[in-house]
Symmetry: C2
Subunit: 222 residues, 2 copies
Amino acid sequence: MRMSELSSRSGVAVPTIKFYLREGLLPAGERLHPNQSSYTDAHVERLRLVRALGDVGGLPIAAIVAVLAAVDDPEMPLAWKFWIAQRAISRSLLEPVELSGRTTPPVEATSPDAVVAGPGREAVEKLRTELGWTVDDNNPGRAMAVTVLDAYAQLGHEELFTVLPEYARAALIVAGADLDTVALQSAAPSMAEVVVVGTVLGDGLFAGLRRMAQEHVSRVRY
Amino acid sequence: MRMSELSSRSGVAVPTIKFYLREGLLPAGERLHPNQSSYTDAHVERLRLVRALGDVGGLPIAAIVAVLAAVDDPEMPLAWKFWIAQRAISRSLLEPVELSGRTTPPVEATSPDAVVAGPGREAVEKLRTELGWTVDDNNPGRAMAVTVLDAYAQLGHEELFTVLPEYARAALIVAGADLDTVALQSAAPSMAEVVVVGTVLGDGLFAGLRRMAQEHVSRVRY
């Protein structure tokens, strides 16, 4: 199909498609003439995946490139793909976002790898021990949880520490559901896609349900 | 205190503080000379709150301004503050992020208010009925959940729909914990701050714990 049909079928505007081609998010089509290429259904699907990761998952371009490379690699073990998806979305959450259309402030760099000693690390370690979770020190989620708890403590608040076990109980339910979605797949490529997309989009789904549940619980209680 | 001390006590660089002052995220200090102002402990606390919302919570400047106005308003009912915090973080998740240091693609606008008919809305309505959740149609989380599920369906995947009840069960646990943190507060201002900060940071905490739990569950299962 031509670029115009690719645009109408994927719902992505032509200038955006050209941008994705330049950035390597979309493989080039088969060149018919110097100014014309032909695209396939695989391009439509890839475009939908890029939009889901970017618009809905909120990943920056560089993270999408890394995640797609993981999806595409037939030799990469599934555990690695999980890891790459986790890191991509953890970074996008932890690293300061460049501000659009403004003079950006010089932000101090924070690395998700730097898990420094403090109330956050202490609380997460205690949790890990008490629940008997087998989790590597380098798990990207560990750095995220520690960073959030430290930020919270810095604000002079302690409440999130109090409810940490409840959060962990809920996280275990969601993680079990996540692994169920992977087990539903039979083919390795779709398994990889579910790992990556589910990790990115699952955060958004849970955040949405959390807000709905907050309203419900506050109506019931007050 | 002087700007330099404000910087060292808050851990925020002087150029960043000046940027926040210009953008109205930080109230001006008391002017001592044309080129010198004096700042208080309240400025240190406000700076920490801004950094937590921006760096850790990932909110863009405009959302931080809206959220801080809600925190500061002594007359605004608590339910409204919840709402504003929810909308701020929902928007930052749903709206395409401007890409840093690149030619940005022309992105089609998506509104979190537009909950269109489709598999996502159908699944969320079914869930709401089955669980008996009292949630307004305009709840920002409803739009988030619907958007994510529709994006997932568009990719040709159905697995997130299958595990939706498990996600909802976990969301109810977290929402209960969230309301507990609010109930722990005695003063109205700190209650408002907990609502706002807890809503923003709670997503990050849960996302971190979810990744830890994913690793644990996959190690146990495989």
